[in-house]
Structure formats: C-alpha cells, structure tokens
Symmetry: C2
C-alpha cells in the first residue's frame, strides 16, 4: 500500500459520536451524495437514499428494489462470439419519499432555509431516520418540522414516513404536498433520456438507459390509496407502488389528490394556530414481480397499506425495533474503550442488516439497495465477503443466498456451454442469472466465482451442519462447478512432473487479467474439486439413495470423482524458489515493477488514469489476490509463508478495490503486523463513513462492511472453523479493552470475548461443542468457557 497511513475517524463536530446512531447536526449541501448513502434506510428489498423529504438538490433521488431491473441489449464496440448479450440494470423506482412543505405559501427548501436547528439521526436500534428542524420562515415565523423515515424489516413491502409541522410562535397556513414521482423522464438528472449507455468513463457507475424504462400500466385511486403500476419495457418486470396518509390535524383540513401516469400527489391544507401541529403518516408500499400483472401488484399494495394502517405507526415502529433487537442480539460487536470505533462498527453492521434483512430469494448487490452503481449486480463478494457473516449470525439468510445460486444453475450451465466448457459457469455479474459483464477480461474470465460459491457452501455447512441442503441443492452446485474446473484446466508435464494447469483466467486482482495459473484461482479450484469429491463421498456413505439419485440426474460417476481428485491433487500452484513466495500467476514475476515513486496521489485509482494495457504490464495490484487466498485457506500456509507473501505483495497493492483493505488487515493481524492490521482495519471501517474511495455517493460498499466483521472475527479473534471443531488465535492489534461478539454455530451459540492477549469463548447455548486447543479436542456445554492466549 503506497498511500500514507494516517489516523481515521469522522468529523465529530458535524457527526458527533454515539454508539448506536449516526448523527448529522448541521446541514451541508457540499457532500449530499455521501450523506444520502450514509443515512439510507433499507431492508434488503426496498432501499431509500437519504434525500430530504423536500426533494430538489440531490446526487441521486434513489429508491431501489432488490432485483427489480430492466434489460437491454449490450452493444459491443467490437463484437465477438460468446460476449455477454443482455445488460441488466437495477431501476430507480418511483420516488415516494417526497413530502413538500409550504408555510404561508413559502416553500421550505432545505438548502436555502434559515435554520435555528437541524439534526438528522439514523438510529441503528430503532431503524428509523429522523430529522428535527426549526425553520425561521422568510416571513420570520418559527416552524418546527419533525420527520421520520423507515423501511420496515417486519413488513418487507412497507415503508413509512411521518411529517410533523408545528407553529412555534405564530399561526400559519400550512400546505403539505406528498408525492409519488416516477422520475425517469427528465426531472432527475440521473436519467438523461437518450443518453448513450456506458458513456461515462468510470466503469463502476451504472449505465444510463436510452429508452423509457417504466411503461405506465395503471393509475389507481381507491379510497385512501393512490397506486401507480408499471412494467419494464424490456425485462417485463412489473411494479406497483402506492401510498396512503394518516392525517392528524387540530382542525379541519382539506386534501386534494392528483393521479397521473408518472406523478401522483396529495395536497393537504390546514390552518394552524400558534403551537398547533399537523402530523401526517405516509404509508408506502412497493410490490414487484417478474410476471404478475401490475393490477395484481396494486392489489397487494392495497393490502400492505391496509394492514399497516390497521397497525398504526406506533406498532410499526415497535415492530422495527423488535426486529433489530434480534439482529443486534445475534450480530452485534461490542467494543469496550473506543466509542468512535463502536459507532463506526455498528454503522457497518447496520448496513449488513439493511442489505440483507429481507432480501429473501434475491441476491445481494455490491451496493445493496443503496444505489444503482455496478448496475445493481450480484458479484462473487456476496459469497466470499458477506456469506460468512450471515452463516454465523443469520444462517437462514445464508441458506437463501446459496439457494439463489442453486436456482441459477440452468443459466450457468448454458453459459458454460457457450464458453465451450462442461458443468456450469456462474456469471461474473448478474441479476437474472445471465452473464452481464461486458468486459470479459475482468468479467467472464473470473472463473473463480465458481469456487467462491462452493466455498460459501462449505462455510454455511460448517456453520450449520445442514447436511440436507448440502446433499441436495449444494451437491448440484458442487458437481457442476467441479466439472467446469476439471474441463477448463489440463494436465501438462514439465521436468517429469505432471501438473494441472488453468490458463487464461483472471483472479480477484483486476490489475492483471487473462493470466495463466492464477494462484488464487488455482487454490480455490483445488478446494472446489476436492470439496466436491469429498462431499459426494460423504453423501454416498450417509445417504446412498441421494447419491444414486445424483448419479442418475447428473451423470455423476466414480470415474468423474476420480478425475476431480486427480486434478485437485495435481493442481499447479506457482511458487518462486528464489524469493520463496507464491507468484500471483505463472508469469507475474516477469512483469516490470510499477513505478510508484513517480505516480502522484491523484493518479489513483489507476484504473481511471491508465489504459488497461499499461496497468496489466506491471507488477501492481488493485486488491490483495494471493493474500486473499492465504486468508481463505489459512490452514494451508505457515505464518512464515504468509509473511513472505504479504511482504512482497503489500507494497504493490494499491487498494484501489474496496475489497482489499479488510483482507490485508486480516492477514496482517495473523502474521503479527499489528500496526498495519490496525491501520487497514480503520481504512475498512471508515471506507464509506469517510468516503475514502471517493464514491460513497454511489452507495455503500457492502462487502467492505462485511469485511469489518471479518477482520474482527477472523483477523483479531482468529476464528477458525474446521467443520468438526473450531478454535481461535487471538491477535487484537487495537487499544481496546475488549471486543465481544456472538457466533451461532451448529445449534450452539457462542459468546466471544476478545481482550488484549487473549480470547474467552463462552458457550451460551449448546452441548458438546467441539473446540480445538493445543492440538486436542475440548468439548464444552452451555455455561462453560475456554480461553485462547495470544501466541
């Protein structure tokens, strides 16, 4: 890493420290992209960026629904066989966040308003974003405006807003215009009609559509409900969204409704005396589908609104609290002795809840539902970064994600065939299961996604012991992924030694692409083949009838298992005898070193400032690649090996990928580089909170947020799960009194308490939990604990 190391932490003047909240106590227009992301509310299905209720200036007026996407034909500047054909982009759905206020005919505009008080708080326990404002109107009247926004974890399709206006020193005429706006056709700069797809030069941002995406299908105004329905032009996905108001006013009020194709509003007018208040509760419902007509979705919206209305806001707020109480019960990491880190850790964990909570049968996009960056695509980081967190805190959700990949198998088989391979090849980027990566060198060539899914499956199985899933959905995933590897690679003999090679692939590090024998890929493929083979053997032993069915359905045979064994055993892993390190790929060490000395800070990330060929020609990393393999398969490598590799790669790793620093921190911790481990941890912790990558405006880096959990659990506590047993190798590099967190594991519940130099694990629930310590197995029951000393 070549950036200077420094101390991290948010600006506590504007964002004061609180262990359970993120707070903004003064308004600023200078970084609204970032704060829209940081204060987003979401439940893994619906995501609402923190745009002010009043609309207007924004980076993105974003509301996103997980998996709700439009498709479009990818236009390759130069075509070739097998290139991805169908682009998929998450759609910015109609915006229900808008609640505009007029006092005595003067609009309330946050950016111009004369404010006596401003506070915005996102509370991680209540799951509510609230804003508290005192406004001195142009006419000098003082008005209190309190609003709340929540996307319900309890009710997947529901969001709720409250908006309360109180006159403080005078009577006033109040108008509230609450809206539902489909912005696609011009109002929102983000969607420039007829702008070309892919015109930006930052490939990480979303494409822009060049056609009208949402075709209006219905406008409904029944009783208190206003609902708009649409269908995506190409993907034919349908959506309905609607709202209902509960109004509490001290006197008679008028309400006028307007419903158009792209615009619905309800205008509420009331006259307030001094000290009186108007409060509205806006219930909002979103339903989406791949095929159900908008009409039916509209009915569902009405039912959602009806139920919510029956519950009332208090009950809904309580339900949110309760859901989150359970989340924190399982997932919290408590820090003693560092409030600021505590706040940042909880913000990251809260993002994981917001990304995954009610994602259900969908994947988890790189940015969750906080933005359309990366087109809302699902990548490998779900499996490698996020899934371990879920496996040990919310295994049911981990299972759903794996099932989601299982459901994708038919497309993945098709894709493998198109790429001339057997088995299945998972798409590098996708929403609907088809490959959507338009640049194969840093897309389709990343075959390692296959192994990432197999790896996540093992994590899940180790954490849960769910043999049923492993032997059904899991087995199919393993068979097809192993098949691909066996077919993709080939045996070759060199100096009398036969090895299995995998050529022309790209590892996680995208600063070299289409290389031979990428170390990470080969390590992962070896694991995938071996795990598939062993799992099949174990199914054969434990459930012969299932094994036979698998053989019938997939053509599996013992000869094939033997092939996997052989490929796995003879897998070539590059090793440089002279330097005693693992080259990132067979020819990485032949490359010219990058000239870091003469590369100014503003030239990072390199991908935005150098042609790919220039980058590929040099020894320079976007992210820790070998080091990630050392982490994921830590048991295969000695501390000395890890240290040598780390010493070689760390100075040439730019960390231009947000997936990098958490991994660097974990391995740094493991090899005893405490200072570095702490620095990298901070960098992961504040990656979004301090906008360290300059693109927090484009959404939360969900994998990095999960990486924060991984650093503490795997890096600092040194958690190792061998399946049959677990153990810890604590290495706390930070000056914290203690860290504690829980792990759900295979019907047991563990409380881990990490202190300077040691780690105590208490069995909260479970019997005969098998720990390994000093080479021996130790079985503990509920109430017992075990201590691991730092070595």
């Amino acid at each position: 890493m070549n950036h200077p190391l420094k101390n991290y932490g948010m600006d506590t003047y504007r964002f004061p420290v609180d262990p359970w909240k993120i707070i903004e106590n003064s308004f600023s227009n200078s970084d609204y992209g970032k704060t829209e992301t940081l204060f987003t509310v979401a439940n893994g299905y619906i995501g609402m960026r923190a745009n002010p209720e009043e609309g207007r200036e924004a980076h993105t007026h974003g509301t996103f629904i997980n998996g709700f996407h439009e498709t479009w034909r990818i236009k390759h500047a130069e075509e070739a066989f097998g290139y991805a054909k169908i682009g998929q982009t998450i759609v910015n759905v109609p915006d229900a966040k808008l609640i505009k206020l007029y006092v005595d005919d003067e609009p309330f505009l946050l950016s111009h308003a004369d404010l006596d008080e401003y506070e915005r708080v996102l509370d991680f326990r209540s799951g509510v974003l609230s804003r508290n404002i005192e406004w001195r109107t142009p006419a000098g009247r003082r008005i209190s405006i309190k609003s709340q926004r929540m996307v319900s974890f309890e009710h997947r399709h529901l969001a709720m807003m409250t908006y309360e206006v109180r006159t403080l020193d005078h009577k006033a005429s109040i108008v509230i215009s609450s809206q539902l706006l489909n912005r696609q056709d011009g109002e929102d700069e983000y969607y420039v009609p007829s702008a070309a797809l892919g015109e930006g030069t930052d490939p990480r941002k979303a494409s822009r559509f060049d056609h009208r995406v949402l075709e209006p299908r219905l406008q409904r105004h029944e009783k208190d409900d206003i609902i708009l329905g649409y269908r995506c032009n190409n993907s034919k996905m349908t959506i309905a969204c609607g709202y209902r108001h509960l109004v509490a006013a001290p006197s008679e009020y008028k309400i006028e409704n307007m419903v158009n194709k792209d615009y619905a509003k309800s205008v509420i007018k009331v006259q307030l005396e001094k000290g009186q208040s108007l409060k509205i509760v806006k219930l909002v419902a979103y339903h989406t589908s791949t095929g159900v007509p908008a009409e039916e979705l509209a009915d569902r919206c009405q039912r959602t609104l009806e139920c919510a209305s029956a519950d009332g806001s208090k009950k809904l707020f309580d339900g949110q609290k309760q859901w989150l109480a359970e989340f924190w019960e399982n997932s919290d990491i408590e820090i003693d002795g560092d409030l600021q880190s505590q706040q940042a850790i909880r913000w990251n964990l809260f993002q994981l809840a917001q990304a995954t909570g009610r994602a259900q049968e969908n994947g988890i996009a790189a940015k969750g539902v906080t933005s359309s960056a990366y087109e809302g695509h699902y990548f490998w980081d779900t499996e490698i970064y996020l899934l371990p967190f879920l496996a040990y805190t919310n295994p049911e959700m981990a299972r759903k994600l794996l099932r989601f990949r299982w459901q994708m198998l038919p497309s993945a088989r098709e894709r493998a065939k198109e790429l001339n391979q057997k088995g299945a090849l998972y798409p590098w980027r996708t929403i609907n299961g088809q490959e959507a990566s338009a640049y194969y060198a840093a897309g389709t060539a990343q075959y390692h996604i296959n192994a990432a899914i197999a790896y996540a499956l093992k994590k899940y199985y180790n954490a849960t012991g769910d043999f049923d899933f492993l032997s059904k959905e899991g087995a199919h995933i393993l068979i097809e992924t192993a098949r691909l590897w066996e077919d993709l690679g080939f045996f070759s003999e060199e100096q009398g030694k036969t090895s299995f090679h995998i050529h022309r692939v790209t590892g996680p590090d995208e600063y070299t692409t289409v290389v031979n024998d990428n170390f990470y890929t080969n390590v992962m493929a070896r694991f995938n083949l071996d795990y598939a083979m062993k799992t099949m053997q174990s199914i054969k032993e434990k459930k012969p009838e299932i094994y036979e069915a698998l053989c019938r359905e997939t053509g599996l045979s013992s000869e094939e298992l033997e092939k996997w064994r052989k490929a796995s055993e003879l897998m070539y892993l590059p090793y440089d005898e002279k330097r005693k390190i693992h080259p990132q790929d067979a020819n990485f060490l032949d490359l010219e070193p990058w000239n870091f000395k003469d590369t100014p800070q503003e030239k990072f990330p390199l991908l935005l400032h150098y042609h790919p060929l220039v980058i590929y020609r040099h020894q320079v990393l976007k992210q820790a690649d070998v080091v990630l393999a050392l982490f994921l398969h830590g048991e295969m490598f000695s501390i000395e090996e890890k240290r040598r590799d780390f010493d070689f790669y760390d100075p040439i790793t730019t960390g231009d990928s947000s997936l990098s620093v958490c991994v660097q921190s974990i391995v740094a911790a493991q090899i005893g580089y405490k200072e570095l481990a702490a620095q990298y941890f901070q960098r992961a912790l504040y990656l979004d909170l301090m906008d360290l990558h300059g693109n927090t405006a484009d959404g939360v880096h969900v994998a990095s947020a999960a990486g924060v959990w991984a650093v503490i659990v795997y890096g600092f506590a040194g958690f190792v799960d061998k399946g049959e047993s677990i153990y810890f190798i604590p290495k706390l590099p930070l000056d914290w009194k203690s860290v504690s967190f829980k792990l759900k594991r295979n019907k047991s519940l563990l409380q881990v308490n990490l202190e300077k130099n040691r780690c105590t694990v208490l069995v909260l629930k479970g019997t005969d939990v098998c720990f390994e310590k000093e080479g021996k197995s130790v079985f503990l029951n509920s109430g017992e604990n075990i201590v691991y000393q730092e070595t």
Copy 2:
C-alpha cells in the same frame, strides 16, 4: 493447416480462362456478392462495385472514396481509460452507376430477363468492365445492350460509363433513366437507419450508422451537369458528385432531368427503328475534401466533367489503356505454361493497381476501395504486405504511403502519451490518424505496427536509395517508433543475464493476445531500434547538418542512440532449448494444444464460433506469426531453424486470417517444402477468386493479392535485398515453364526470369548493379545477366 489440401482453380465453364481478363459468361444471382467484388472497377481513389447498371438485387450497392469517412463516438459496453474514442467508417457515397432501361415500357431487370447472350468482362489492360447482353423482351423483341464502366486511372476524379441499346429485329420505344442516388436513407439494406453500431457478430464487417451521415448541402443543375453536394454529419468531410451525359441517337430524343436532395435522374426517351441504336456516355465526377465547402467541390466536379467531355470517350479509354500499359510494364508477372494461374495472378496484380493507382496521399484500406468492410480502415498490412510490391514497381507510390504515415506522427505521438509511453504509437486501425480499434487486445496491443512502418521504410530505402526521404520524413518516423519501443520494454535480469523484454502486446496472430515477449514483436522491435540507431549514425556521417537539426527538433542525443542500441542488442527472443524452436511468446508453449481432431470444418474461422478466452487458452494460430518473422528477417535464421519452427507452427495454424497463406507459402518454398509451398500459393492466388474465406463479397483481400506477388518474388525467386547488394535463391515449386517479372531498383531495372532450378536476372537498365553470388559481389551493367541455380 488443418483444412484438407486440394487443387484450385475457378469454374472455367462460367469463368473461362483468359490471360488478360476475367470473364463471366452466364448470369447468376446466387453469388452476386462475390462477383460484385471480383468485377469491381477502381483507381485507388474511387471504387465502384460491379453492381449491374439496372440496380436492384445486390449484396452492396457500393461506391467508395478512399478516406472519405464519417466519424462517430465509440460506445464501449464497459469503458476504461484510454480506449479509442472516435470510430471512423468509410461512407458508401451516392451511387452514379445506375442506368435503367425500359423498352416499350418494360423494365429491363437482369434477374428476370430472358437473355440470349450474356457476357461480363473485366479487362486488365483496358481497365474497363464491359457487359454484352442480348435480351428477348417480354413482348419478344430482341434488344442488344452493351455497356462499359471505367474508373479512370488517368483522371483521378472521373468515372465513365457507356450504355448502348440497339434494336435487333423490330422498332421500339426506348427510355433510359440514368441516376445518381444517395442510398443512405433506406433503399439500400446495407444501411439500416437507427440500427445499432456494431450489432453484427462478425467483427470484420463494417458498422452500421445510426444516424443520417450525409447532410445535403447543394443540388446543382447547370447546363448539362447535375451535381449533388453533401457534408458528413460528424466528420464534416464534404463531397460533391455529378454527372453529364453525351447522347448519340439516330433521331430526336427527349431528356428530362430531376434533381432532389438524395436523388437525381436524367430520363432519355427515343424511338428506335429496327437496327438503330441509342448510345449514351455518362461521365461521372467525385470530389471530396476534409474541409472545402461542397460548393467548391461542385465546381471541381464541373471542371472534371468539362475536361472529360472535351476529351470524349475514345480518348478517355485510350488514356486508361496507356496508364495500365505502364503499370503492366512494371508490375506484370508472366507465367509460361499455366494460363489459368496467369489469369489469376493478373487479377490479383490488377487489384493492386485498383487499390493503389491514384490513392495518392491516402492510405490503402484492407479492402482497397471495394467495400466498407473493416470500416475502410488502414492497417499494418499496407506496410508489410503491400509496400514491398510498390517499392519495386512503383516507388513513388511507396513513398506517398510512407509520407502518409509521417503525416500521422502528431496523432501517433498523442496516442503514445495517452498510453503512457514516449515516442509515437501508430493506430492499429485508422483513417484519420486516430486509433479506431475498439478492442485493444487485438488492436492497440499490436504495437508491432510501429515496426511495420519502420520496416517498410527500410524496404523503400533499399529499393530506391532515397536518402533524402530517409533522412527527413523517415528519420522522424524512426526516432519516434524507436522511442516507443525503448520506453515500452524494460530490462530484467535472469540467471545473471540481462535482457530487454516487451510485455502485454499482441503479435500479428490474434488467436493469442496481450502476451509477454511475442517473438515477432521482439524481432521487429529489435530491428526498429537497430535501424533507427544505424540510420541516425549514417545521417550524422553523411548529413551532419540534418542530424543536428533532428537533435534540435526532437531532443535526440547520442545517449538515446546508445539506449536504442542496448535495448536492441539485449532484446529477448524466446527460444525453447528442448524443442529447438522459437515459442510464439514467452508462455505460448505452456498453453493447451487445440483439439483439431474434434473441431468440425464448420467451426472455422474459430473467431466466429468460440469465445476469445477459449481461443486464447490454446496453442492455435489465426495466422503464421513466428513464420512471418522468419520471412521478414530471413537472414537471421538458418534453414534448419526455419524448418523446425515451420514444422511446429504450420499444423496449428488455421489460416483463419487471409494474411497467413502467402507467408506460409514463402517460407515453405524457402525450406524446400515444394508441395506445401505450391498449395499455399494456390490458396493465396484463389483466395478471392474462389471465395475461399467466404467473405469475398465484403471486398478484395488486398494484402493477400500483394502476397501473391511476394510469394513469387520472395518465395519462388528467393529475392533478397541487402541494401548494398541483392541476390536470389530460386525455388520454383510449380510446374511452370518459366515466370518472369521486373524489379525497379535504385535507378536500375531488372528482368527476372525464373525457371525450374534456376533464375536468370537481366539488367535492363542501370550500371554497376551489385549482385551477390557465392559470397562475392558481382557488378553488372545494362544488358548483362546473372544466373542463380536452385540449391
């Protein structure tokens, strides 16, 4: 090469053999794409595909002007820094070929007509395409239709058509509608409005525009001339095209003119008695410019038409003959004993005249001016394949082409900078000097184009001794290309040996890309550095004032020359000790062999049936890559070395590139593989005539046509030009009595006569021409000859 070898030759029933013509004696609609190409008339500036005068069914109603192109923003499906931004596509200009005939109100439609006679002839000496038809009209009347079409070599901007209708057995009412049609907006299928760019899956075809390209700027009808003027929407290039008729009728005739924005026509009506004829001469002018207003171009058109009109058709036909007489005088290859090959060879040579004749300050596109395939772009094959032919037959044209590259230096410097390199980087594909290759892996990464230009410069200098050009334009090219190589590569030490490496480049063979130390590239870069260095030293000695000026202008120094020397001397050339061959790149031998056995014929060319990753992963070649280096730098390698390399690469070379077989033939001849040399030669010879690549419809493969010349001169006659001297190593593999051709060389003119086992070179002009024979120099004067025996 894995295709079965077979005997070649056109279908002589439909295309009878003639040593100086290509003849089609029966009409067919089944292969009009191919015949449109084969019977094209062109002069290197204007090209007219052989669409029938009557229009209608066509593969492409093509008229192309060298360099006349539209630009468009390249939309990359996934953007990255430094990608080519501006696409450039040759424009199909308004079609003046149309002359429609109506007899007694019945249209003459070739595809439906009841023909008593049909013959189409392209005469290589007259340079005229003529058609002779006897038509039995629907009413049973017999009509003779004779037409001719010529694009003038003498008058660059002129084309001429004649159309003569004679009643054979009856009187008839004759209407001729002679047209000028801008087809871009719909009539021609080839341009589908609003079709997306790059939608086809064959990357070799031209893109389609998604906008109106030619904006009408003027419609002029003055006296006998009708002229339309346009400007390209983006590139702002201008064009005017117009026509004038000379009518010869036996009785009074009527003429009506119509001029619209995209359509002009002149309708001539006459009543013919039995045996009478109507003859029109249609003079056509095209003028284009990068900036001159269409008005001025229209004036130029009028002047062209005026002059042509003053000359009259006979004089114009004579001028054409005369120009071609000179061409054949310098460029003919005469075969004794094989009429069919003679015809095919002359067809290929004639294509070279048609591609280059009046190209003047333009480049030569891959398809000349016969099609818009490859967007009408200029590639490296101009320098490597075409320029040697020109250097020894028409050195002035060779000089122009090099000057064209010299003029491109500012853009090439800019491009190098964008790619983070010093010096200049020539665009892989271009018309206007900017890189237009949208796929860098098989585009920009082909840095070897730099050395191709330096190589052509050396060829030109050896052939002409034009030190003036070498020390001025040439020196700048050499300095900037050498600079790029020196900066692109780097020194690295292995086992105590320092070598200069060039990484992440693509050689001529595009079936592996972005490789390290491509043998061809390194051989060529070594030459480029060495030749630049030695040329600078020679300029310093011979013309110190020029050398000093160069140092001043370019910052050249003796230190820099020393760097070039070092890089050149230490250039790493991959060599495999075990197999004793030159690996195509540093890691080529590590790849898995392609499974040719299980690849059916219909899967070739591989690029249309396999994802690039699949191809790149295997030992399989699109074209001879190492073998090309062995040819271009034949003096560096022994026959044994060549044979070993050839033996290794030839079986894995698909020849999917049309640039391959001629090179394979040359080297096969040199190493004594006569049978193979003959077979590959035939394949090059009939590549278009027999449509062996299935895409002759998309234009003439100009480089392959030049390759035919190269096989005979370099392969069969074994011509070697060392600069100070020349010699021959004859190896005639075909059963010809003799082959003879001329070479212009440095003020001398040589007649080479190649027979079985020997080659006689007669000095037709010149004094003290230095030959090398058996290690000694032999100086000959005009009238003397030297004999080289086959060894």
